[in-house]
């Protein structure tokens, strides 16, 4: 489907997206799942940043994600501004089995909110949720974010352990992260790059929140790069796509 979409090149919108987060939380794996629907156990650590692209259809529009997957090690932090400048979207990833990774995610969010594009769409993703799948999780999800998680229940392994023993691996309660995300105005998802859970939803919701019309307008205006210009324009009209949540999810081709 993605290839078919490329035919309508003029309608395709470039969206620069950056992935940030602590080392080994699975940033690259999330991207790999999204871009090629694969999972590799041993991925080479990212040096500087890896660059990948993926097309994604949202209603009648085609989004071309330009994904910058950054290195997670602390000392690469000072290089990050190079990658998140002009980004229209950011995914800050943490590991649900590692409390410290959420703290690191929070500092990334803080930094993005102060240093990056003022209108950047930020999503918080708690990855490796497959490690903590248990009976309690879907219940909580159903109440809190039913529309996003509903059809995802199929993705959960059938033999979900009944007891909380696997749940003990979890160090970041969903509620806590979600509350934080709400407070900071972020999209929030729990994902598993291994099973694929939540990945497509993550990128779809981001796509919906991006002011596409402005990017289109500004790039047509010949102002140069879509990123900075689109963001500078400011408002958030393009979000009207949100109503058709269920429909658009299917159409996102990843």
């Amino acid at each position: 489907m993605a290839d078919g979409a490329s035919g309508s090149a003029e309608r395709s919108v470039q969206v620069k997206l950056v992935l940030l987060g602590e080392a080994a939380v699975g940033k690259s794996s999330v991207v790999l799942r999204f871009v090629s629907n694969e999972f590799q156990a041993n991925k080479e650590p990212t040096i500087g940043a890896a660059f990948l692209t993926q097309k994604c259809r949202l209603e009648d529009r085609v989004l071309r994600y330009e994904i910058w997957d950054t290195a997670g090690q602390e000392r690469f932090h000072s290089l990050a501004p190079m990658y998140y400048r002009n980004a229209q979207a950011a995914v800050v990833v943490y590991d649900v089995t590692k409390a410290s990774s959420l703290e690191k995610a929070k500092t990334w969010v803080k930094e993005l909110q102060r240093q990056a594009n003022p209108n950047i769409v930020i999503a918080l993703a708690g990855n490796k949720v497959d490690l903590v799948q248990s009976s309690t999780a879907p219940a909580a999800a159903a109440t809190s974010e039913s529309e996003d998680e509903a059809d995802d229940a199929t993705a959960t392994p059938g033999e979900a352990p009944a007891s909380g023993e696997s749940d003990s691996l979890r160090q970041v309660p969903r509620e806590e992260a979600e509350a934080y995300a709400q407070e900071a105005g972020l999209l929030f998802f729990e994902t598993s790059a291994k099973t694929g859970e939540g990945i497509v939803e993550l990128f779809t919701e981001i796509a919906k929140k991006i002011p596409i019309d402005q990017i289109l307008a500004s790039s047509r205006g010949g102002a140069g790069r879509p990123g900075a210009a689109g963001a500078r324009a400011g408002a958030q009209e393009g979000v009207n796509l949100e109503e058709n949540a269920a429909k658009s999810k299917d159409s996102c081709n990843c």
């Binding site: 080994a24 041993n42 080479e44 650590p45 040096i47 000072s78 409390a99």
Partner: protein
């Protein structure tokens, strides 16, 4: 990012000597044992004369324990050989006027050096060389050569070649080379195959060429490098020889030679140690060149682990940085663990300094240099990148950081690495520029970072293809893109020399350091858990003060916590964080707080200046531990901010409470008598440079009042019957004695202390840096002239001279700038009427306390006895230790007198009446003598009092209203 790196600041340009060492790839000086003699270095003009009548003019360097030579053009001939490989030195006196030495080396090579310097220089050089050789002989280094050389593959190569010749001659078929073969060190490639097709790589012919070269020009320790050597390297090293040649060319061979067993030992010493670095290494072990079969086996992983861990133990400051795993994995294909360890050290510390450090300043610096070179060499492309806002580093950073290994196919990357070790870091820049130049046309079409990356990716994937596929000339068609790349790199960008890189790095260094510092400042402020009541700018000022302090006294090196601690705690706890010790804290505080520094204003009739020193007092130590809320013995930025937040925004009552808590060591809500004394000393310390004796008086009044109150408020053994003659409980000096309410009362009884706690104390904290300039109250033409033109260096001298002049003309004056500085002239100490004055004014006005103790009732006895030691402490330390040395003090005698006066005269004579009297008088007596202040105090007490029990309060009231006897 909570670490503050000052290591950037401490960077020093390498000295000329160090540069020479760098050039010859010799190990930096190691700390030597006491026995070792410091051997002199020397260089002299010389020519290397080869048997074939070839002569290279150049310079001969004696750098014990090495002898090095380089031709004038820096490329046609050079060697750096350990002295221990020299077997024989002879002075040749064939022709008059020529000073010639003939040297023979371990590998049987013989060469002649003509020393072309003047005769005395040549003589000196020779005698130094003789001494250095003797030392090597004594150290037994000559014997180590033989065993060391066996670890090198080149020996096998040359030996087997010789064998083959012999075999050919003798037509023998015995295979006796296998016995000697097992000793040499090799990499994983020997077992897991080397990347690339050996036929395509033309391994056999390369090996043959190298065998010939190594046979005639020395090998490993004794390699002579001629232009042919560089050319052979550029063609690509044969796989089996590659590891050893990397070692030899980069100089890591010398490190391995000088430090036998070091690698094994450092691993043994640190066995089982777990720290942040080892954890990070563990995460990446399976992610390093995972497509190479060795790293899918436990053997390869174990080797990689050993090398990376050993490096992180050797250099804990760098520890482990992602990309090092890729380097280590790559070089391990061609060399043993020990070899790889030393080569990694040379890469990280010498060839790419600062690349993998926690701030990655080397990487950032070289990216900046690369950008500048692109600007200079490829201006059109640079302008285009500027125009479409594409950042070079998005693509070039990984090139430099992982030596192209994860950018292009490995076989090509290794060829670039061959050149990198042979010709130095300039190769990376040359290749980088060549890549851009070759792709220039296409690059001018790109519009954004993404396009740039993709174009580069495509180019790298096609490096093996023909560069000119359409060409009619088959020879041109045969040239691959990679060959074209090297050609362009070394032909067109030959202008980029070692010096270019050194100069460019020097030029952009401070820019990079500044941007790293401002970045880490921003993120340090941003990452604070709380700003307290400070604004971001104020937090920035605190950071500046902290940074300044750290520059003066760096914090102690981070000690690795024991493994047990690490495993029990959450990972976030262990994130490295800059914490400062007491010494640094003192400097920090002196930046912010006026009483934490001694400022001497010196006037000498010609000029005036301020000299600032760091004060040292128990109060500052106390503050340090008071702010160390997590009991780590060190303070973080956050701790300092919290601490300052707790003191800088206080009002009167909060300040009093803060001061009380600061001195209440066990936090039980009570000060002991000792603590009351310490508190008084703290006050005296803060007031030490105040003009006049008003503050002194205030402190002494405070002390006497404090002890009177304290004693009066002691819980009696039987509170219900105050009439009893039961003896007052004896209170030890370390027992709980005074609570906050009482302390507050005592403080508010004094006007000076009250204003001090209300406003003055807060104003002793100033975040904005106070410049050392003198207020221009006394401008003298000469002085201001000098301060305008003087530099830091000559200013010191100028000051000494003018001080002398000032002394002789009697105008030399030094006074200390006070911490508060409110009172500018001597005034009559104006004591607020003490709460209890009415009583004593009448009762004990004529009797001293001591006498009062003897003739008073039993109830009176205890307080006065306990008071007297306190009086003693006021008397004795005040004039001696709290007043600055007499020679600096403008009016020593007056201060002394004032101190004495304060101690003896200003002390309000005071005694406590009988409990009986209190009983009788309270009811009907109105507080007639109380002035408005008293009411105020009362109101305060009512409002803020928490510590007093009802009985206490009652008692206090009684005391206030007490009627004169």
């Amino acid at each position: 990012m909570s670490t503050i790196s000052t290591q950037l600041r401490n960077f020093k340009e390498p000295t000329k000597e160090q540069q020479t060492q760098l050039f010859f790839a010799l190990p930096p000086d190691m700390p030597r044992g006491e026995k070792d003699v410091e051997l002199e270095r020397m260089e002299c003009q010389a020519s290397l004369v080869l048997s074939g009548e070839e002569v290279f003019a150049g310079k001969l360097h004696l750098l014990p324990p090495y002898l090095a030579f380089c031709s004038l053009d820096r490329k046609s001939a050079r060697f750096s050989i350990p002295l221990s490989t020299i077997r024989r030195v002879e002075r040749l006196n064939a022709r008059a006027g020529v000073y010639a030495l003939s040297l023979s080396l371990y590998h049987g090579m013989k060469f002649v050096i003509h020393i072309t310097s003047l005769r005395p220089t040549a003589d000196l050089f020779c005698s130094l060389l003789r001494d250095a050789l003797k030392v090597e002989l004594q150290r037994g280094r000559m014997k180590t050569v033989k065993t060391f050389v066996k670890t090198c593959y080149s020996e096998v190569l040359v030996a087997s070649a010789e064998n083959e010749e012999k075999e050919a001659e003798a037509a023998k078929t015995d295979d006796n080379s296998s016995s000697s073969e097992s000793a040499y060190l090799g990499g994983l490639g020997l077992k897991f195959k080397f990347p690339g097709d050996p036929k395509k790589l033309r391994e056999a012919s390369k090996t043959k060429l190298w065998t010939t070269y190594l046979k005639s020009h020395g090998r490993n320790l004794t390699l002579f490098r001629y232009a042919q050597c560089t050319r052979l390297v550029q063609v690509g090293l044969p796989n089996r020889l590659r590891g050893e040649m990397w070692e030899t060319l980069s100089g890591s061979l010398y490190l391995r030679y000088e430090n036998p067993d070091y690698f094994e030992n450092i691993l043994k010493e640190n066995e089982g140690r777990i720290n942040t670095a080892t954890e990070e290494i563990e995460k990446d072990l399976h992610r390093s060149l995972p497509e190479y079969s060795a790293y899918q086996s436990e053997e390869g992983i174990a080797s990689l682990r050993k090398v990376l861990q050993a490096y992180s133990f050797r250099n804990p400051e760098t520890g482990y940085c992602q990309a090092m795993n890729i380097l280590a994995a790559a070089i391990l294909i061609y060399m043993s663990e020990e070899q790889a360890f030393w080569l990694l050290e040379v890469i990280c510390d010498r060839l790419l300094p600062g690349y993998y450090s926690p701030s990655m300043h080397g990487t950032l610096l070289d990216q900046r240099v690369f950008e500048a070179l692109v600007h200079r060499c490829l201006p059109i492309l640079y302008d285009h990148f500027q125009q479409v806002d594409v950042q070079l580093s998005v693509a070039s950073l990984p090139w430099f950081l992982s030596l192209f290994i994860n950018s292009m196919p490995m076989v090509f990357a290794f060829r670039i690495i061959d050149c990198f070790f042979c010709m130095g870091p300039k190769v990376l820049f040359q290749v980088g520029l060549a890549i851009l130049k070759i792709n220039g046309e296409d690059l001018l079409q790109i519009q954004d970072d993404g396009g740039f990356i993709q174009l580069m990716r495509e180019y790298f994937s096609k490096l093996g293809e023909s560069a000119h596929p359409e060409s009619s000339d088959p020879r041109a068609r045969a040239i691959t893109r990679f060959q074209e790349l090297l050609l362009v790199s070394f032909r067109e960008f030959a202008v980029i020399t070692d010096d270019t890189i050194i100069n460019e790095r020097r030029r952009y260094r401070s820019e990079i350091v500044n941007s790293i510092e401002s970045f880490s400042k921003r993120s340090a402020v941003r990452n604070l858990k709380t700003l307290g009541r400070f604004t971001k700018e104020q937090a920035g000022l605190i950071y500046d003060a902290l940074f300044k302090a750290i520059c003066v006294v760096p914090p102690p090196a981070t000690v690795f916590p024991t493994p047990a601690l690490l495993t029990t705690k959450d990972g976030s706890e262990e994130r490295p964080e800059t914490r400062i010790g007491l010494k640094t804290f003192k400097i920090f505080l002196s930046e912010i707080c006026t009483w934490a520094r001694d400022e001497r204003v010196v006037t000498n009739g010609v000029s005036s200046r301020v000299e600032r020193n760091i004060a040292d007092h128990e109060l500052i130590d106390r503050l340090f531990f008071f702010w160390d809320t997590s009991f780590r013995g060190a303070l973080s930025f956050q701790d300092l901010l919290n601490g300052l937040d707790g003191v800088m925004f206080n009002d009167l009552m909060e300040n009093i409470e803060w001061f009380f808590n600061l001195h209440d060591k066990n936090k039980d809500g009570y000060l002991t008598k000792d603590e009351v004394l310490t508190l008084s000393e703290s006050l005296l310390f803060i007031f030490r440079f105040e003009v006049g004796d008003a503050y002194l008086g205030a402190v002494s009044r405070f002390m006497s009042n404090a002890f009177e109150y304290g004693d009066a408020l002691l819980p009696r053994s039987d509170a219900a019957e105050p009439n009893d003659d039961s003896p007052q409980p004896q209170i030890e000096s370390n027992q709980p004695y005074m609570n906050l309410a009482t302390f507050r009362m005592v403080v508010l009884a004094d006007e000076i202390l009250e204003t001090f706690f209300e406003t003055d104390f807060n104003s002793t904290f100033k975040l904005e840096p106070v410049p050392l300039d003198m207020p221009s109250s006394n401008p003298s033409v000469l002085g201001s002239l000098w301060s305008n033109i003087a530099s830091d260096d000559n200013r010191k001298f100028f000051n000494i001279v003018t001080d002398q002049i000032g002394r002789t003309i009697g105008k030399h004056q030094v006074y200390h700038r006070p911490a508060i500085g409110k009172i500018t002239s001597l005034e009559e100490p104006k004591a607020r009427e003490s709460l209890l004055t009415p009583t004593m004014r009448h009762s004990t006005s004529s009797t001293s306390l001591n006498t009062g103790a003897s003739d008073s009732s039993t109830n009176l006895a205890t307080p006065s006895v306990s008071t007297s030691p306190s009086l003693l402490t006021v008397d004795t330390p005040t004039p001696k230790s709290k007043i600055s040395p007499a020679e600096y003090s403008p009016m020593p005698t007056m201060l002394q007198a004032a101190a004495n006066a304060a101690a003896y005269m200003e002390r309000t004579p005071f005694a406590i009446d009988d409990a009986k009297d209190d009983e009788e008088d309270t009811d009907d007596e109105s507080a007639a003598e109380d002035d408005g202040v008293m009411d105020e105090v009362d109101a305060f007490l009512e409002e803020h009092d928490t510590g007093l029990t009802d009985a206490d309060r009652e008692l206090a009231k009684d005391l206030i209203n007490a009627e004169p006897v």
